[in-house]
């Protein structure tokens, strides 16, 4: 009988999860026979597991909608117990729903008995409860809550899902700014504890804001490109040959043979261009078997990829990509101001600055700026990470922008498929884009001529057999084209001025982390 099973579950849930198993039967809604004097016994308890037994005609209101306008209304709310504090004959709860919270109060009186207050006070933090209460205006703003003008006077409280009493991390610790924590000697939560308990860490207002904003980055990226006439494509992640030479690639066992995980959708984006899709984009995982344990490397990240045929000059594509980034920055400013401010509370940061049109510097200009600042480097040398950071600061000082394009990289430091610059044998039609001094996009005009591609591959010492399919793609008429790949997690991290890419990957993967 399902009823019996349900009750059994309930009892075990209570034993495991309540901090102090109550002495009387007050936990049970329907069968609290032992407590005869409890006039409120039907007003609280642990409800049976919701198995879709019924479809009650009851509206649950969102906490964010509980404002002064609802004063004196009786409402039903479902939320988590964020904190609870018993004080004599009453208990104050903070009820949380995503990034919103409200103060709730249960006090001994007509609606609540002593047992009911005790029950409420004993519900473990993070448990989910259904509350019926009256919305009451408060004389002084409630500073700790997002709903500052009202509180909820509880008339009924039922547990929907009990949390285990000992949380692996405290949400209040998890949103404390690190400096503040250190100064006051209060706890903060380290990265590994957060990631090991990601289900809880993601509940903080900071995490909620980061990932809602990240969802926005994807949305703005697509909105902008679809508006510009791009087509979304889906490219395979299991590939038969390592496209970029074979280093840093994960191997997959594929039935009786083996295969690889794609390090980028580039070949497929280019095939779509050769197949007349003209302008394409894709969003998907990208895999790099790089043993890098830095603040900005992941072994699996999300690529926002663009490829586009152009008419005469690859700057047509550079401008489209830069404009797409600008539309993302603007959209975030307009639509995600609350999220930005929420993250800033824990991780203070200057607002992200950008110019319109986007600043484009040539590589040699950057080299000159760096040399003037004391960096020694050759003309054809790639930028080191510290040089990139320094350059970011120099550009910010000189041009007041956190976003810029570095164009015309030395040919020698770019992949074989990069189009050489027709005007200078040492440079190439390639570019990176930077946010706050860190690279977020790498791109180039690609060689669309099979013969030049063959020459360049040979020059790089690449085995032609391994890239035959790639080169063959261009044999049946290929338009000139360029593109680039953007790292989603880096965009989110750098836009918000965060210090570690693991903060902007929900379930990050690095050489040492594969869980959760």
């Amino acid at each position: 009988m399902p009823g019996v099973a349900t009750r059994k579950n309930q009892e075990r849930t209570r034993d495991n999860a309540m901090e102090q198993p109550p002495a009387d039967g007050c936990l049970f809604l329907e069968h609290g026979a032992s407590s005869v004097q409890d006039y409120a016994k039907e007003r609280y308890g642990v409800l049976p597991l919701i198995q879709s037994q019924e479809k009650p005609d009851r509206m649950l209101i969102r906490i964010k909608d509980l404002t002064g306008e609802k004063a004196d209304e009786v409402v039903w709310v479902r939320g988590r117990i964020h904190t609870s504090r018993a004080k004599g004959k009453q208990c104050f709860l903070v009820l949380r729903q995503q990034q919103f919270n409200i103060q709730a109060l249960v006090a001994v009186g007509d609606h609540a008995s002593k047992q009911m207050v005790k029950f409420a006070a004993n519900i473990s933090k993070e448990s989910i409860v259904d509350i019926e209460g009256v919305v009451r205006k408060v004389p002084h703003k409630i500073e700790g809550c997002t709903q500052q003008d009202v509180e909820l006077h509880i008339q009924r409280i039922y547990v929907i899902s009990l949390a285990e009493p000992r949380l692996p991390l405290q949400l209040d610790d998890a949103i404390r700014p690190e400096v503040e924590g250190e100064e006051e000697g209060r706890a903060t939560v380290n990265q590994d504890t957060r990631l090991d308990n990601r289900v809880i860490d993601l509940r903080t207002s900071t995490s909620q804001a980061i990932f809602r904003l990240q969802s926005g980055v994807c949305q703005l990226f697509r909105e902008t490109l679809i508006h510009k006439g791009f087509v979304e494509i889906q490219t395979p992640k299991i590939i038969s040959a390592a496209s970029e030479g074979g280093a840093n690639v994960f191997t997959v066992s594929y039935f009786k043979s083996s295969a690889y995980l794609a390090q980028s959708p580039q070949l497929y984006k280019q095939m779509c261009i050769c197949a007349d899709f003209d302008k394409v984009f894709c969003i998907g995982p990208v895999f790099r078997a790089e043993d890098s344990n830095t603040h900005r490397h992941l072994t699996e990240f999300v690529g926002l990829d663009i490829e586009m045929a152009f008419n005469y000059h690859y700057h047509e594509v550079v401008e489209e990509i830069a404009d797409t980034m600008v539309q993302i920055f603007k959209g975030l400013q307009e639509r995600f101001q609350t999220e930005i401010q929420t993250v800033n509370k824990q991780f203070p940061c200057e607002p992200f600055k950008f110019l319109e049109p986007t600043l484009r510097l040539e590589y040699q200009e950057a080299v000159a700026m760096l040399r003037e600042a004391g960096v020694e480097m050759g003309d054809e040398e790639d930028l080191s990470t510290p040089s990139e950071k320094l350059l970011g600061r120099l550009v910010k000082e000189k041009y007041d922008t956190d976003f810029y394009i570095l164009d015309k990289y030395p040919l020698a430091v770019r992949p074989f498929y990069t189009m050489p610059d027709p005007a200078n044998a040492k440079t190439s039609n390639s570019y990176d884009m930077f946010m706050r001094g860190e690279e977020i996009l790498s791109g180039a005009q690609r060689i669309h001529d099979p013969q030049l591609l063959t020459e360049r591959a040979l020059h790089h010492g690449i085995d032609l057999e391994k890239i035959k399919a790639y080169i063959d793609s261009f044999r049946f008429g290929a338009p000139p084209h360029a593109g680039g790949g953007i790292g989603l997690e880096r965009v989110t991290m750098l836009y918000l001025g965060l210090g570690n890419i693991r903060q902007t990957s929900m379930f990050p993967r690095d050489p040492k982390r594969l869980t959760p």
Copy 2:
């Protein structure tokens, strides 16, 4: 010197790619010295490889914009040579751009010499050319082209990218309806030839339409869900443990250890629900190491995944998903009519029918319908593929819909995490959705109680150690929730009434195919 390199490339290109190397120098724009009598020699030729040498101030017009309104204007167009037919002193070309094409004509006269006409006639099919021409109205509609009211009178023609002369497949063969081809003894192109030469196969109007519509499915899916308040999430594809028991999973070597490719984002979607994201969706690759070589199985496909917390009953979620599908169907009808008709020309099919609200049948009703139609099956038996197809026909006859929900599957045929039906020990709160008699979505209310989950896992003989992280996700308060996963390629295939999933996957992966 870049100039020299470019010319070298040009010459080689000519030797390899022109069907008959012309006797004179007419292929060369800038150095056709041998042909002194050619008064048009600057009006045609093979241009140097576009390496972004310049940014000319020249507008290229889109073929789809060449209508009667442009009559008598001189325009520049870039397109592919779709067909060419020389006839005495003139040559007719069909110039193609994606799904649009126009007739173009070059004739000996003021603007074109004999050599120029010969040059145009010799350009290999699929080459990309830039044409300057006058738009002229035609007295009779041009039946073979999308631009039927005008043709282009060529004044200049330059090759931008030469195609090799022997194409592995002909585009006209590739869009011929199979029945027509058979009747007339004309060629059609088989699946493997298409897939082996996907860059060319994707250029057909049918392929262009299929994948533009598929891009639309993703767009409509997201638009609808973002409007409903869902958040987009990104879930990892490399996972440390096989989530659903370990069968049919691909193994990845991960540094010194090994890992798996995710068979579904389900655990991560559910973790996001436990982390208060409330309503989430994701679009991404899903991997199944199943050795199935059928018309509807791929080893890598794109999952459109949804997970959502609900208040009281999982039908709240079923309704949201069904409505999302309906919005997709409506959006396709409204925005992709041209694409639907294009595909129908090659693959005729009845328009897709659906009801509002969506028809929902209980599993036992379906069993009764099948039994009435002569199928023998037990109450707790799963539907075979032929039964599903038959059921689709029966439902279509009775209710006139190609889309419906089958609810309350037997508990025995569903995964361990499926919530049992509280009213019937043999059934479960689970559902599939069907399009034209084939499953496109599988979903359920999930068990959100760690103890019931443990019981059900044990009942299924699952090693608890392997799913510990999964079960632990529910220990700190979990809302009731349900969800489902939709196969993108199946939706596209079945909406368009196509017969093979390889037609709706750009670069399909199956046990026998890993390329291109």
